[in-house]
């Protein structure tokens, strides 16, 4: 019995020492004025898509605000596992928990009620959350529109392909923007739209892209992290080309060869905005839109494929970009696109 008591005492002492260390570390972070951000993602920080965009954004925000942001992340976190790690971050004194994906909505709303002093963020969502929850909504019909302009002006077969994940969130906006872009410059073009029903089934995305290429599509696009599977399938075709939803795709061998241009989400602006708000005492209760007008998007042509940057394409893209930068909501009709009429 005495031995047991000694063991319990020693364990208690050890726990006390450990937790005291953690608390003092948190206190040090608070004293430095840095906002501690934790990122939870379902894929990896280098998936050349959705998760990498947010990771890159936070790293860029750190560079823009030296000493103002401390940052940790957890990869491969399905919603069912994310709760425990999110609670661990809260216990470690993090100020802002970013759960990057609409699939985390329920978890974040539940935790926001439990921890009213901590800020949370998730997206994509157009909803305005509780007073300690930020949401963000990429108005990606704008990036889709630019991709559509390029696809519509590049296709020789007059058939373009679109590999979507699910018809929701920013993917639905990107896809419909793409349709509007194609139709704006090439009303006769046939657009093949197909969804895989998943964000991360690379094989199925590749199968859908192959199917579209076999059925005549010669310019394709796709959104979410699985799009890299469709891009890889496109690279197998001697003629088909690709327009990307992430500039990171340029860094792949197939992107170098096939990706004419791409847009990226600039989450740095979103993160900087959230940090400023937290520092001024606002913990949430806002939906932050992302568009070209507020520098929420970046667009680039692939420097390795200058032959596809024709004067016609450049003029169309420049005009659209100027319109988007001048005011948000230019493509307010995006939701009216009906795939069954294509």
């Amino acid at each position: 019995m005495k031995k047991l008591l000694v063991i319990v005492l020693l364990v208690s002492l050890a726990c006390g020492t450990v937790f005291a260390g953690g608390a003092s570390e948190t206190a040090a972070a608070k004293e430095s004025g840095a906002v501690k951000i934790a990122l939870i993602i379902e894929n990896t920080i280098d998936d050349k898509g959705w998760c990498q965009a947010m990771y890159d954004g936070i790293v860029a925000a750190q560079a823009q605000m030296p000493g103002k942001i401390e940052f940790s992340y957890s990869e491969n976190m399905p919603p069912v596992d994310a709760g425990s790690i999110a609670r661990q971050y809260v216990a470690d004194g993090y100020d802002l928990i970013v759960a990057h994906g609409a699939q985390y909505k329920n978890l974040i709303l539940e935790m926001a009620g439990e921890y009213p002093d901590v800020s949370f963020a998730f997206g994509t969502s157009a909803e305005v959350g509780p007073s300690n929850v930020f949401t963000y909504m990429p108005e990606s019909e704008e990036t889709g529109y630019l991709s559509g302009l390029i696809a519509g002006l590049t296709t020789k077969q007059n058939i373009v392909g679109l590999v979507g994940p699910v018809d929701g969130g920013d993917a639905a906006r990107y896809n419909r923007g793409f349709v509007l872009g194609v139709k704006a410059v090439n009303p006769d073009a046939k657009i093949q739209v197909a969804h895989t029903g998943s964000f991360s089934d690379y094989v199925k995305a590749g199968e859908v892209a192959t199917s579209q290429i076999k059925n005549g599509a010669d310019v394709l696009t796709g959104s979410s992290q699985q799009a890299i599977g469709a891009l890889r399938a496109t690279a197998e075709s001697p003629t088909a080309m690709w327009v990307g939803q992430d500039i990171a795709q340029f860094s792949t061998a197939e992107g170098q060869k096939k990706c004419i241009a791409a847009s990226s989400y600039n989450y740095a602006a979103v993160i900087v905005g959230m940090v400023d708000k937290i520092n001024s005492g606002v913990k949430g209760g806002e939906c932050i839109p992302m568009n070209f007008n507020n520098d929420g998007f970046i667009f680039e042509f692939n420097p390795a494929l200058p032959q596809y940057k024709t004067p016609e394409i450049t003029a169309a893209v420049d005009k659209a970009l100027a319109d988007f930068k001048a005011a948000p909501g230019v493509l307010a009709n995006w939701s009216s696109v009906d795939y069954s009429t294509l």
Binding site: D47, K48, Q192, G197, N215, L342
Partner: protein
């Protein structure tokens, strides 16, 4: 006509991963072992398969034989995982369902962890090129459907009659069926039940890993942690679908793949039809066929899922 030919020409290579994994699982189940860890073995096969050419070429182009060396390495790792699974369920007689789920998590987790360490993020490889069969690939319609694919596609379909021959015409196949149907009788006839089950598990593991390597090196030509995406479980379902018979399993793999290809193609036609139903089509098809054919279970291995212990009378 082109639409149909394209569908069939795509469904043949797209069915290969399921076909190989299902045939492997069939050998497991014929020997009386139910391996739900197929998904994990496929993940390890996919990773090891792409790792060899990736490391040799440092992410760039490599001679094609390095791809086949990757496949060989994947097959060996798959056989070892089959051996490991045998240790757990045959020697230690652990419950096969739980052990299978453990193997699935072990395989997917290990492949993902090693991938992050040795490779990094989502990575493409040059992969195995198509090898059209001279003359035959030029035949209209038939050439595109059957003779314009990579070597693993030909191997997978040629392996179906080989698997049938092994299972039904060799003494080892007879042993496999015996230990999966009535292990006590097999034991009394001098057949080493455990050894036969180990051998079947190694063959099943090797084929599951080959299936994974096919995905990473010949179909998707890339690797990511979620590459397999549930195909291992579909392979297990296809064994029931095909009544533990290689030819019927091939039919199931082709039917599933055809439904998958068809749903992707009809979405592109712009028919006013919710895409969610299209995506569900292959899975619904499997459930419907299973529900109509499950009454005929005479071919199922009657000792499936039951550990063998010669000391205990069952």
């Amino acid at each position: 006509m082109d639409f149909v030919v394209n569908l069939l020409a795509m469904c043949v290579p797209f069915s290969v991963a399921l076909l190989l994994a299902s045939i492997g699982e069939m050998f497991n189940q014929r020997a009386g072992v139910f391996n739900l860890g197929c998904e994990g073995v496929m993940a390890m096969g996919a990773f090891i398969g792409m790792l060899v050419p990736f490391m040799i070429g440092k992410g760039g182009e490599v001679a094609n034989y390095w791809n086949y060396l990757g496949i060989l390495a994947a097959v060996m790792v798959g056989a070892l995982l089959g051996l490991f699974f045998g240790l757990i369920v045959v020697t230690f007689r652990a419950p096969q369902g739980i052990a299978g789920i453990g193997l699935q998590m072990f395989g997917v987790g290990t492949a993902g962890t090693l991938f992050r360490h040795f490779v990094g993020g989502t990575q493409s490889v040059v992969g195995i090129p198509n090898s059209p069969v001279p003359l035959l690939s030029k035949i209209p319609v038939v050439g595109d459907i059957f003779f314009n694919h990579n070597l693993l596609v030909y191997f997978a379909f040629l392996f179906v009659p080989v698997a049938w021959y092994i299972l039904f015409k060799t003494s080892w196949g007879l042993k496999v069926r015996a230990v999966g149907t009535y292990p006590r009788a097999a034991d009394s006839m001098g057949i080493n039940v455990n050894k036969t089950r180990y051998q079947a598990l190694m063959l099943g593991g090797a084929l599951a890993a080959l299936s994974g390597a096919y995905l990473s090196l010949a179909q998707a030509k890339m690797f990511s942690q979620s590459l397999i995406a549930g195909r291992g479980f579909i392979a297990v379902a296809l064994v029931y679908f095909g009544h533990w018979h290689p030819v019927q399993i091939m039919g199931g793999a082709l039917l599933f793949s055809l439904a998958q290809t068809f749903q992707a193609a009809i979405q592109g036609l712009g028919i006013n039809f919710p895409y969610e139903f299209a995506v569900m089509l292959p899975y619904v098809l499997v459930i419907v066929v299973l529900s109509f054919t499950s009454r005929n279970q005479t071919t199922s291995p009657s000792a499936l899922g039951k550990p063998f212990n010669r000391e205990i009378r069952t």
